[in-house]
Amino acid sequence: MGRYVARRLLQMIPVVIGTTLIIYTLVWSLPGDPFAGRCGARPCPPAYVAAMTDKYNLDDFWLVAYFKYLGNLLTGDFGETFQGLSVGEELLRAYPTTAKLALVAIAFEILIGIGAGILAGLRRGSYIDNLVLVSTLVVVSIPVFVIGSVLQLFLGMRWGIFPATVGGDASLYNLILPGFVLASLSLAYVARLTRTSLAENRRADYVRTAVAKGLPQRRVIGVHTMRNSLIPVVTFIGADFGALLGGAIVTEGIFNVPGVGNLIFRSITARDGVMVTGAVTVLVLVFLLVNLLVDLIYGWLDPRISHG
């Protein structure tokens, strides 16, 4: 187990270097110099352009500039935005909000997704099964910005049940609406995954045995069937959590959630290369770590998969 984790951690090093290299190079090689649009209809003062070029090593060969950046990164220095704010601090500020939003979304996936999946899986072919199948199909086929805008329009603007946007006050209540929108797509997948997995396991030998030896229905389903059926679902939710921690540009934009997605979106439009690179680097790290965690949980849930 320890060796497995160590190996996985070591594998992360080339992945992180590779991704940051690609992102760094791409961000700074966008066509046009990054200061062209910063002074409206005039070119920026040459002194300003010179100072910024120097600050961000834009005159260096791209590989040299990258290694300078990487060197700072290793000492924990993510650099500064054009506004002079520390990228590290901005990320620290945005991350808890995104994590909170991700947790709310995961809660919806678990409650509604698994709930609907169990109901549908236990009564295959029934009215409720068809209802779940059709409604998840609808959700999967509608883009998230449509769901977001429509819910915002009615629940937020017209009826005032939820706040239209979140803003600085990222309380649990304020995050319900964006959390639900964010969860909607995965929720549909979770429901379908649970349903299939449960339906399959109900025909498994060990379930028949459990029923045959006279265990009550509740125990057969609640303990024996569920534990095995949820393995793929847990994996899916775990991986989804990793993705959600990467921020949701669309949802965070619609509901003005000051999280990582919003930060990245703003930095891209402002061409704030340091911010974009820093944020994405952290995203890569988080994603890798969450995935490692999911794999470990997987082994614990299903002893057949062992990380020796």
Binding site: L30, P31, G32, D33, P34, A36, G37, R38, C39, G40, A41, R42, P43, C44, P45, P46, A47, Y48, V49, A50, A51, M52, F82, Q83, G84, L85, E90, R93, A94, S149, Q152, L153, G156, M157, G160, P163, A164, T165, G167, G168, E252, G253, I254, F255, N256, P258, N262, L263, F265, R266, T269, A270, R271, D272
Partner: protein
């Protein structure tokens, strides 16, 4: 759409406060109609809290390096300059200045500031505070974005070149090329007086120094810049409380503000939105108090008028001007004025506006200066800006014509793709030639091509005035060496007129500017398209706020409903 997000000066004070300057830039006492706003009575102190939509400032909150809306609105609320512009008319009036006395030929100005003013930290505002701030802004070593306001494109203070440093042949800055640290044209006489000597006559000096680049700076700024950036200190009606990046910037009415009018609202939250649609949703739901721009989604089908019934307004903006510019230096293709006139007359502006922005949301241009600016004369463009298919075809027949497809370049975002496509349709239908948009994805990459003089076909040019004056719509854009002369237009007569006008004032100067406009009409190297209207909304919690001549909310006009 950072193009129009770029800003000049927004008001820091004065709804008809100060002595309205009569033309001779002197100190004639004007009317004082002190409008206190509809809400909270004067003398009771400011009450309540409001929120205003904003974007994350892109630069540190230092006046000499803030040149976009997000930071600009906050800087303007936190500082009071020597001169401020009336919210409604854009008329400059004395604010922190007691008097500004020009010499005969407008090359030297003696500025006396009001006594007893302090910064938010209690340190006094002196003549030195202004002189130091200006020297800081002009110095090449400090790399400030608003540097050019002190040079020939702005006030043109004597000794600017020595402080600003030099550029090499490629236009790149040569580090360490500045030979002086202070501009020779600035001289402190005593605590409250200083003189400014200019490199060339400029009757508009007083108007120009209302721009935020000319705000004073406290001593603490020069000793510890990092601390200042964390917690900026101004001398204006509102003081800095805190910034939560990406979320909000909070200001509070400053108790000891000596200026007039006083703030009526106690706390202002500038709430950061990455997406204007989210801000719109909030103002409809009464969770945001003031929205200074309605997004396209709200304008479509005039939804905003019902969504925000009784709490929205639309007004012409005096500061924005959109045009189509022909490149004249990198190609011969557009050298014939008849061709340029034919294209101008082939664009049905009314129809293009209706198709791209909704009817009536913009105003077709008939000159190079938007109405509301001193010196605006309707129709200086004459028939050349009027759509006439037959006349356009006739002109086109007399010209060498367009080789191949007519391309019109622009950035695709910010609603520009829509009007370029509509204009092309109009040109195609009228002249029977092929016309196509040539788009860059965003403003930055588009401007990079314009700055590099790479575009060889007509392209979009948008201008947001720095200060309210006809001069600002003509000199930087169309003089041969103008800092924003993108098409390379050059007419010695035009340059001559602009230069003469700078040494005159009042109607004499305006007449010359109008004559210069007539030259633009003869040449039609820049086709006027339209002036902007500004649409805004507010919540049920506040009284109708006033908007500055630039189209942003005037923080001194905000009051909450009792």
């Amino acid at each position: 759409m950072r193009g129009s997000a770029r800003r000049g000066a927004v008001v820091a004070a004065s709804v008809g406060l100060a002595l309205v300057l009569a033309a001779c830039g002197g100190d004639d006492d004007g009317g004082d109609n002190g409008s206190g706003g509809e809400g909270g009575g004067a003398g009771e102190g400011p009450t309540g809290s409001v929120s205003i939509n904003s974007t994350q400032p892109e630069n540190p909150l230092i006046p000499t390096t803030t040149n976009e809306v997000g930071g600009g609105n906050i800087v303007d609320a936190m500082w009071t300059g020597l001169v401020s512009y009336d919210s409604e008319t854009g008329e400059p009036g004395l604010a922190m200045a007691e008097s500004i006395e020009p010499n005969e030929d407008f090359t030297q100005f003696t500025i006396t500031i009001k006594d007893g003013w302090t910064f938010h930290d209690g340190s006094p505002v002196t003549a030195q505070s202004f002189v130091d701030a200006w020297n800081f802004g002009a110095a090449g070593a400090n790399a400030q974005l608003n540097q050019y306001f002190f040079g020939p494109d702005g006030a043109n203070i004597a000794g600017y070149d020595a402080v600003a440093g030099q550029t090499d042949d490629t236009g790149a800055f040569v580090p360490g090329s500045a030979t002086a640290e202070t501009m020779s044209g600035l001289e402190v006489v005593d605590e409250t007086t200083f003189t400014v000597t200019l490199g060339s006559p400029n009757s508009l000096f007083e108007t120009i120094i209302g721009y935020s680049a000319f705000y004073p700076m406290p001593e603490s700024f020069f000793t510890d810049q990092a601390a200042f950036i964390e917690h900026p200190i101004g001398n204006g009606p509102f003081e800095f409380v805190e910034e939560v990046p990406n979320t909000s910037i909070n200001l509070r009415a400053w108790e000891d503000y000596p200026g007039d009018p006083k703030p009526q609202v106690e706390n202002i939250e500038y709430r950061i939105y990455a997406d204007l649609d989210a801000a719109y949703a909030d103002v409809v739901a009464n969770q945001l108090d003031i929205l200074d721009k309605i997004p396209p989604a709200g304008l479509a089908g005039d939804v905003w008028k019902t969504d925000l019934e009784g709490r929205s307004a639309s007004e012409p903006l005096t500061t924005r001007f959109t045009s189509l510019t022909f490149p004249l230096t990198n190609t011969e293709a557009w050298a014939d004025p008849n061709l340029r006139k034919a294209i101008s007359r082939a664009i049905d502006r009314e129809a293009v506006i209706a198709a791209a922005y909704g009817p009536g949301n913009y105003v077709p241009a008939t000159s190079w200066v938007p109405p509301g600016n001193d010196g605006y004369v309707e129709g200086t463009c004459g028939e050349w800006c009027e759509f006439d298919a037959a006349a356009a075809q006739e002109l086109y027949a007399q010209s060498p014509g367009v080789q191949g497809t007519l391309l019109i370049s622009s950035n695709a975002d910010g609603g520009h793709r829509e009007w370029v496509d509509a204009a092309c349709t109009s040109i195609r239908d009228t002249l029977g030639i092929d016309c196509q948009g040539d788009f860059n994805p965003d403003f930055g990459s588009f401007r990079a091509r314009v700055n590099a003089n790479e575009i060889t076909n007509p392209f979009r040019t948008g201008w947001v005035a720095d200060y309210p004056s006809i001069q600002n719509f003509l000199a930087p854009l169309y003089t041969t060496n103008g800092s924003a002369n993108d098409g390379g237009y050059s007419n010695p007569q035009f340059d001559e007129l602009i230069q003469q006008a700078a040494g005159l004032e009042g109607q004499e100067a305006l007449d010359l500017y109008n004559q210069a406009e007539e030259l633009l009409a003869e040449d039609m190297a820049i086709i006027p398209l339209w002036y902007d209207n500004g649409q805004r909304g507010w919540s049920e919690n506040v009284n109708e706020p006033q908007f500055t001549w630039k189209g942003y909310v005037d923080p001194l006009s905000i009051s909450v409903k009792n």
